[in-house]
């Protein structure tokens, strides 16, 4: 193309664009389109409000009603020997923390190991396919069924009707494991294959590459997944009603005896009120507020981790 042609072409393009701009400026959306737009916008905003309002009300109610009994006694006393007003939820808070810790101690190693197998070793194999299917099914198991399974297991092992914090942890682990497997698997898949190859090419055995390269790279995401799993189970009530039972007293021993937890505490305070019903309601609300606070603290802790995984995603 000669320079003259180029220049001419340039002029043509410029004038053509000029026309287009004029046409665009003159055009306006039709009334019908504007009406549809307004309708759609309205519907979306309404959906947001419908979602946000109940959520806000719940939080507000928990804070308002829960703070009525948010005193020191609440955190220093159990319900042992308490009839009517007073008492506290120390036994339930301790139970929740103990059972949750035990659940995490069971579910995180098992779930993470399964995820490592699925991503690093079993990909494409039959065992991996079966495991993945099993995890999918486990995700949708009703929590009461997990409770019954743990109840049956402990009845068989330790005699009928055995209730303990550990049995509760086993039931909750059945719910938490699939959550950990799924989130960990997703995070491990985000670790670029390049890094594994680079590690292998340095003359390192595969399991060491996984331990020293893959897991540290994925660590923040793995932690976030574990916290997600904990948040999922910390509010579970039904399986704990079955297998951990309820008590008014302190129990620090996971292996023996009934153990109170916050969700079950809330339930029993509300469901079996004494004469002074206000006192029971207040304790139930205070329990709800404390439980929500524990979950929020966990989520914030997970959020505070360095966003390494987000970085990997961006670099890909």
């Amino acid at each position: 193309m000669s320079i003259a042609e180029l220049v001419k072409g340039g002029e043509r393009t410029a004038s053509g664009r000029g026309d287009a701009v004029t046409t665009l400026a003159a055009s306006k959306p039709s009334p019908a389109r504007r009406a549809k737009n307004a309708l759609a916008t309205g519907a979306v905003v309404a959906a947001v409000v419908l979602t946000a309002v109940p959520l806000t009300l719940v939080i507000w109610a928990a804070i308002r009603r829960g703070s009525e009994r948010l005193d020191l006694t609440l955190f220093t006393h159990s319900m042992r020997g308490v009839v009517g007003a007073g008492g506290g939820l120390l036994h339930a808070l301790t139970g929740t923390l103990l059972i949750t810790a035990a659940t995490a101690a069971i579910a995180i190693p098992l779930g993470l190991s399964t995820a490592i197998y699925l991503t690093e070793y079993g990909s494409g194999g039959r065992l991996a396919a079966i495991t993945r299917r099993a995890v999918d099914i486990m995700v949708s198991i009703p929590s009461i069924v997990a409770g019954l399974a743990a109840y049956a297991l402990f009845s068989l092992l330790l005699g009928p009707g055995t209730r303990s914090g550990l049995a509760g942890a086993v039931a909750l682990a059945m719910i938490m494991i699939p959550v950990v497997v799924r989130s960990s698997e997703e995070v491990l898949r985000l670790v670029p294959a390049d890094l594994r190859e680079a590690g292998l090419a340095l003359g390192s055995p595969k399991w060491r590459v996984i331990r020293k390269i893959v897991l540290p790279t994925a660590l923040p995401g793995l932690t976030a997944g574990a916290v997600l799993g904990v948040a999922r189970i910390i509010g579970e009530t039904a399986p704990l009603l079955l297998v951990a039972g309820f008590t008014d007293a302190m129990n620090y021993n996971l292996a023996e005896g009934r153990m109170a937890t916050l969700p079950v505490f809330i339930y029993t305070q509300w469901s079996s009120k004494g004469l002074d019903t206000a006192a029971y309601d207040q304790r139930a609300w205070a329990g709800a507020l404390v439980l929500m606070a524990v979950v929020v603290v966990l989520q914030l802790a997970a959020r505070a981790l360095p966003p390494q995984i987000a970085k990997i995603r961006r670099n890909r």
Binding site: G203, K212, N315
Partner: protein, 309 residues
């Protein structure tokens, strides 16, 4: 002795706007060859197939499942020199490169047959641990891949850290400085060794990967299109480094850039395939100067002249 990189002007002309303007002229046929200093000028020592780090590839075929990707390659790779693999996409040059340090078999269902020996030792013999092979034959990948969860310093030490053999502080510092200096990166990063490995530019990351590869003291460094993700300036730095590395290591580089192969390599091996889906084969290999000035096979000449396909 001439400079290790004999023709920075040729490299610069690749990016000069003038080169783009001139590309409309019917000079494409001759420009790539006449613009370059003869590659023989880069050969600083006589080639030796007995030098430490010499490799011998014989009758190697590589498969992906039942698909034959590379067929019957036999090739001698001189020690402490640069050997370039060139050829069209899909000709199996990267596959063969990965077979050299037994990285090919990492891919599920991939396998290689034949003999590849390093200093007379068959790397595919029974009982040879692929993990041990890879610590003797290192690799640098197409895309720079420093470990993001490690600092620059730990990236250099990564080979040892992964194996659980992190050296003591003073030995570690010494090793890091030596490898980074060898990779022409020390001056640029010595004040930020604790920064993450992926905080560097692409070219710096690739040199960090080279430092990481040589820190485990391999005899051979394989490079799979190490410059294809880099800008021309970074490419020049890596090319310079490859020439320099060849003083102590056997360097095998896969490249799509024929000018680069001509600039940096002592031996060039040209691979090609009859048609898509057919296995890649070694068409011709020899001293780079001969391959580029007087190829024996028409297919080689056509490819080098840009008349392929």
């Amino acid at each position: 002795m001439t400079a290790t990189v004999p023709n920075p002007t040729a490299a610069a002309s690749d990016i000069a706007p003038g080169a783009l303007a001139a590309s409309t002229a019917p000079a494409t046929g001759t420009a790539p060859t006449t613009g370059l200093v003869p590659a023989t000028a880069t050969v600083t020592a006589p080639l030796s197939f007995d030098a430490p780090g010499s490799m011998s590839i014989s009758d190697v075929s590589c498969y992906y499942g039942s698909h034959l990707a590379v067929a019957d390659v036999s090739l001698e790779i001189p020690g402490r020199a640069v050997t370039a693999f060139i050829g069209p996409s899909g000709c199996g040059k990267s596959t063969l490169l990965r077979a050299i340090n037994r990285m090919h078999e990492v891919i599920p269902s991939a396998r290689a047959e034949g003999t590849i020996s390093l200093d007379g030792v068959d790397l595919y013999a029974k009982g040879v641990d692929p993990v041990a092979v890879r610590s003797k034959v290192g690799m640098v990948f197409q895309k720079p891949n420093p470990f993001p969860a490690m600092s620059i310093k730990d990236n250099v030490l990564a080979g040892l850290i992964i194996k659980g053999q992190r050296p003591r502080a003073s030995a570690a510092d010494e090793l890091v400085e030596r490898c980074l200096t060898r990779a022409h990166l020390w001056d640029e990063v010595k004040d930020r060794l604790r920064k993450p490995g992926d905080s560097l530019s692409g070219g710096q990351q690739q040199r960090l990967c080279i430092a990481r590869a040589i820190a485990v003291q391999p005899d051979v460094v394989l490079m799979d299109e190490p410059c294809s993700a880099l800008d021309p300036i970074s490419t020049l730095a890596i090319e310079e480094l490859m020439r320099d590395l060849a003083r102590d290591y056997t360097v095998v580089v896969v490249t799509h850039n024929m000018a680069q192969a001509n600039r940096i390599s002592d031996i060039t091996a040209f691979f090609s395939l009859a048609s898509a889906g057919q296995p890649g084969r070694l068409i011709e290999s020899g001293p780079t100067g001969d391959i580029f000035s007087a190829p024996k096979v028409i297919a080689t000449r056509d490819y080098i002249d840009g008349r392929f396909g």
